[in-house]
């Protein structure tokens, strides 16, 4: 096949198939001062894609707070880095792999995990944990069951093999994701606070190496594909295939290489492969790069410069080494059996120059590729006015309680996480099923706390408040374990930015998240934006997912999400921290009754939220309580049931007289947590709550009963057996998948 000539690209508008609009093509011509050839047009196409350039979101992302005394590296690098004290730091980032997972779920999820892993060790950090935030349609659909099962298998397939524990995350199910599942993977690594490595190509004349897998014809156009509309129309050929064994060797070799001190800069070849890694490394250094493409190790004969530059073959790194010390690298890579090729050198002329068969086949200003990529202020629609009015209460307490616990978003996720190695590296203190995961820093009495969260129902109803809640919930998860929250990463999963109403959601959700980040002192240090999440013209509900990271000094202080069975059976008081509320706005109850999100987003007050987080840390520090669990989806009813199911002990809940019982049980008002405390510590708990100005009330007790009893004004309002609640909670997901399997074989 002959490549089109520059004139054909212009006249036949070939650039459109490379992802460039007419106006963008004209801009490329202007920046180059001539017509781009095919490889150049392809390179501009991927680097100026939504996926690589953030052209629709950039102007809004600037509103995130990104600094703080704890921040060692903010956005713009491969990952963000925060200080956790005692000379140690944590690198972390979350990234979406939604579009590949929609067409090839196992490999889409696996390569999502592999990609984020490389972003972390590239910073010089030893990866220690994965978390995954997943969204699917309802499980009554065979395609959804396939996507769900394969995504989980793919995450396990990669993560288990590379030997990094998957310690947390969440899975939610809603019709909004039926045609467009979300797969957001987060990786966290540990490094010395003074050991950060950056993706910078400096030092004129320094050699540039490609390390790891050979470059093949797979995944060409992955980045532009991720920025195209309908996954139904997307091709499997654009999806890459992961090799976790090679990923593991590459990780070990790169960490050893970084430790040897010969690395000038290092970057993962992720989306847009060699193109984005080389252009971004040169851009950060303000210099240029010259690549001799004949020297790139390839998987097959006859690959063109276009294919080599745009391939997204996995498990590859671009490394700039100190000139004269290459042998150190060669020795390390040989020991791991990895291929390494000298493909070029660092220049100071600010150009990305490609040489093939002795000729210059591409010559572009780096600034035009990266820094001067188009930025759009897309039209923003008018804000949606949250609905007012009463939410029908047609589901009884019993029906709702069981339905909520059996809703797969709330139900037990053991089916998912027991397919993940949650303990490899032998540092997992608290794994999946906890409010937040805790992973020990080896050799220190200190653990990193991690959680992900993001409820699109709230954002759909009220993007600004929903954005606040997304951050507050993730950060509260950390505080509930007793950890000090430090910073967040995020994935902004939204619909088509060319629609003004989607841009409104994006803009308002970012404002809400920024509000919460400021109020809770958890700046954004890394993140990713995934737009065009739509299927058959329907956009997904706006889904900002937040990954929060904190630290707990002294692992004995940690608060589990439920007490041990023996302790609970002997009798504990159950306290509610935060305010009473009986509004059903934005609740899962409302969605179950009405079939869609209803009302406004739940109540939140960020100042109250901050005080709650500080109180929880104080409670943990003073070792007053034995367990804490935050109140989120399904309200007090779900939170209490989860705690009781986990410790296998029933108890009583006392509703205030002035509250509507149903609303009080299922309200999802924010800034609240349940705490289990021994009777003789309750006074101290109340005192701490008072000094932190957080409302606290003895809500009931846990103890020797097999029932869950709700009382109001001294009367028994409702009783349900713990066994019935447990059954609903534990069987929902396995049953949904089993009945599907039965249908398929029938």
């Amino acid at each position: 096949m002959r490549e089109p000539t520059p004139e054909q690209i212009r006249d036949e508008r070939v650039y459109r198939s490379l992802g460039l609009t007419d106006a963008e093509y004209d801009l490329v011509v202007e920046k180059l001062g001539r017509l781009p050839n095919y490889v150049e047009a392809g390179i501009f196409g991927v680097l100026w894609s939504e996926h690589c350039s953030y052209k629709s979101s950039k102007v809004h992302l600037r509103r995130f707070p990104t600094s703080g005394s704890q921040v060692l590296q903010g956005p713009g690098e491969n990952a963000g880095v925060v200080d956790i004290g005692d000379g140690m730091a944590v690198a972390f980032k979350m990234e979406s792999h939604n579009h590949p997972s929609a067409v090839e779920p196992y490999q889409g999820a696996a390569t999502g995990v592999g990609g984020i892993l490389r972003d972390i060790f590239t910073m010089g950090a030893r990866p220690v944990a994965f978390l995954d935030s997943l969204r699917f349609g309802p499980l009554d659909d065979a395609r959804t069951r396939y996507l769900f099962s394969e995504v989980v298998a793919g995450i396990g397939g990669y993560g288990n093999c590379v030997g990094i524990p998957t310690v947390g995350g969440e899975v939610q199910f809603s019709p909004t994701y039926r045609g467009n599942p979300l797969v957001n993977a987060m990786c966290v690594g540990i490094l010395p606070a003074d050991g950060i490595v950056r993706g910078t190509a400096t030092g004129v004349g320094n050699p540039v190496f490609v390390v790891g897998a050979r470059t093949g014809r797979d995944g060409i156009h992955g980045a532009t594909f991720a920025s195209a509309e309908d996954p139904e129309e997307k091709e499997r050929s654009a999806v890459q295939v992961g090799d976790p064994f090679l990923g593991k060797l590459l990780m070990e070799a790169c960490l050893e290489l970084i430790a040897s001190g010969v690395v000038v800069g290092i970057q993962d070849m992720g989306a847009a492969g060699l193109t984005s890694s080389s252009a971004e490394m040169a851009s950060r250094a303000g210099g240029g790069l010259e690549l001799v493409l004949d020297r790139v190790p390839v998987r097959e004969e006859g690959m063109t410069p276009y294919e080599m530059m745009l391939s997204e073959s996995q498990e590859r790194m671009l490394v700039v080494l100190e000139r004269g010390r290459e042998q150190v690298a060669f020795d390390i890579f040989r020991r791991y059996g990895l291929e390494v090729a000298d493909v070029g050198r660092v220049t100071d002329d600010g150009r990305l120059r490609l040489i093939w068969h002795g000729e210059v086949v591409g010559d572009m200003p780096v600034a035009a590729l990266v820094d001067e990529a188009p930025v759009y202020e897309r039209p923003i629609g008018t804000p949606r006015v949250p609905e007012k009015g009463d939410i029908p209460t047609t589901l009884s307490v019993r029906e709702a309680w069981l339905a909520i616990l059996a809703h797969p978003s709330v139900a037990d996720k053991r089916w998912v996480y027991r397919q993940y190695d949650t303990m490899v590296r032998a540092q997992t203190v608290m794994g999946p099923g906890s409010d937040a995961a805790l992973v020990k820093v080896p050799g220190m009495d200190k653990a990193i706390a991690m959680a992900t969260d993001g409820n699109s129902r709230y954002v759909a109803l009220n993007p600004r408040r929903g954005g606040q809640i997304a951050v507050a919930e993730a950060v509260r998860n950390l505080a509930t374990t007793g950890a000090k929250p430090l910073a967040i990463t995020n994935c902004l999963n939204f619909g088509n930015p060319e629609k003004p109403e989607v841009m409104r959601q994006l803009s308002d959700a970012i404002d809400g998240m920024a509000d919460a980040c400021k109020a809770l002192d958890t700046p954004v240090v890394s993140g990713n934006v995934s737009l065009y999440n739509e299927s058959r013209g329907l956009d997904i509900q706006p889904t900002p997912v937040v990954g929060a990271v904190g630290v707990i000094d002294g692992i004995a202080k940690r608060l589990p999400s439920a007490p041990a069975r023996e302790v609970a059976a002997a009798g504990l008081e159950l306290w509610l921290l935060g305010r009473e509320d009986d509004r059903l706005d934005g609740t899962l109850y409302g969605e179950l009754v009405c079939g869609q999100p209803v009302g406004d987003a739940p109540y939140i007050d960020l100042a109250e939220e901050r005080r709650l987080h500080e109180l929880l840390q104080a409670i943990a520090g003073a070792q007053v309580a034995v367990a804490a669990h935050d109140v989120t989806e399904g309200g007090i009813a779900a939170a209490a049931a989860e705690m009781m199911i986990q410790c296998d002990v029933g108890g009583e809940l006392h509703a205030p007289v002035e509250m509507a019982l149903l609303g009080w049980l299922f309200s999802e008002a924010q800034g609240r947590a349940l705490v289990a405390v021994a009777q003789d510590c309750a006074a101290e708990l109340a005192r701490l709550a008072d000094t932190h100005a957080v409302p606290a009330r003895k809500l009931g007790w846990l103890g020797a009963t097999d029932d869950v009893i709700v009382r109001q004004a001294g009367d028994t309002a409702f009783t349900i057996s713990l066994a019935a609640l447990r059954d609903a909670f534990e069987r929902a997901i396995p049953m949904a998948l089993q009945s599907g399997a039965a249908e398929a074989s029938a």
Binding site: N160, G163, P244, Y420, T422, M423, R425, A426, V429
Partner: protein, 230 residues
């Protein structure tokens, strides 16, 4: 005494095993790369968990050809202690240092969770610190952990007291609920559960400690005996 943990490309529980040995015995541990040809300086050798050489073909199928496994074979013949955990157990069966094979779990999924084991032999160098019939908590993490052997082999294992650990509730469909077996000489143990993940309270169990301590005690007694006779 001195321990070796063999590191194959793709091993990922090597550091965990070394940590467990250091924490429970205070002994010296070396991580030894898979190209090692001589392991004679070590008193005990651990083949750790992970995915040796990627395990794309069959777990342990490539590792059996490595120089380190040849060296292990010689040390087994010398009577040294060899402990294969998870992937290490798979390598030992592939190498025919232990009988049987480890097949895909009967439910076809990877499974990671705390399981209950029953101690079926408390006289071996690996299990002497446990009580016979004692129930202990040790986590598993494997996709191919279903032990399989022909009925005669299983009968031999049972009759010779070579079933070291059984699952109280099998998580993978192993024949006779087998979780760990001993070699003919009693100096090789392969087990699918991970004792190195059960050595501190915060891990949820400390029941793995005694396995490493049993080995330590056995070797130290042997060394003391040898010194006394010298």
């Amino acid at each position: 005494m001195k321990w070796a943990v063999v590191v194959f490309p793709g091993s990922n529980c090597d550091e965990d095993a070394a940590q467990a040995v250091r924490e429970t015995t205070g002994d010296t541990v070396d991580l030894v790369w898979h190209d090692a040809t001589d392991l004679s300086q070590y008193d005990a050798i651990i083949l750790p968990g992970g995915f040796s050489y990627g395990d794309y073909l069959r777990s342990g199928a490539i590792a059996r050809f490595s120089p380190a496994v040849e060296a292990v074979r010689r040390e087994v013949a010398e009577g040294k202690l060899v402990l294969g955990i998870c992937n290490g157990f798979q390598v030992l069966t592939e190498s025919h240092l232990l009988p049987g094979a480890l097949l895909r779990n009967n439910h076809l999924q990877f499974r990671c969770e705390m399981v209950e084991l029953i101690v079926d032999n408390n006289t071996s160098p690996f299990t002497r610190a446990y009580q016979l019939g004692e129930r202990i908590q040790i986590p598993i993490a494997h996709g191919e952990g279903r032990f399989h052997a022909d009925p005669e082999t299983v009968a031999d294992l049972r009759n010779e007291g070579r079933i070291a650990f059984r699952y109280a509730h099998s998580p993978n469909g192993s024949v006779a609920d087998i979780a760990g077996i001993l070699g003919q000489g009693g100096n090789v143990l392969g087990l699918m559960p991970h004792p190195e993940r059960a050595i501190f309270d915060w891990m949820g169990s400390v029941d793995g400690r005694r396995l490493f301590q049993s080995m330590h005690q056995y070797v130290e007694e042997g060394l003391a005996h040898a010194r006394a006779n010298a």
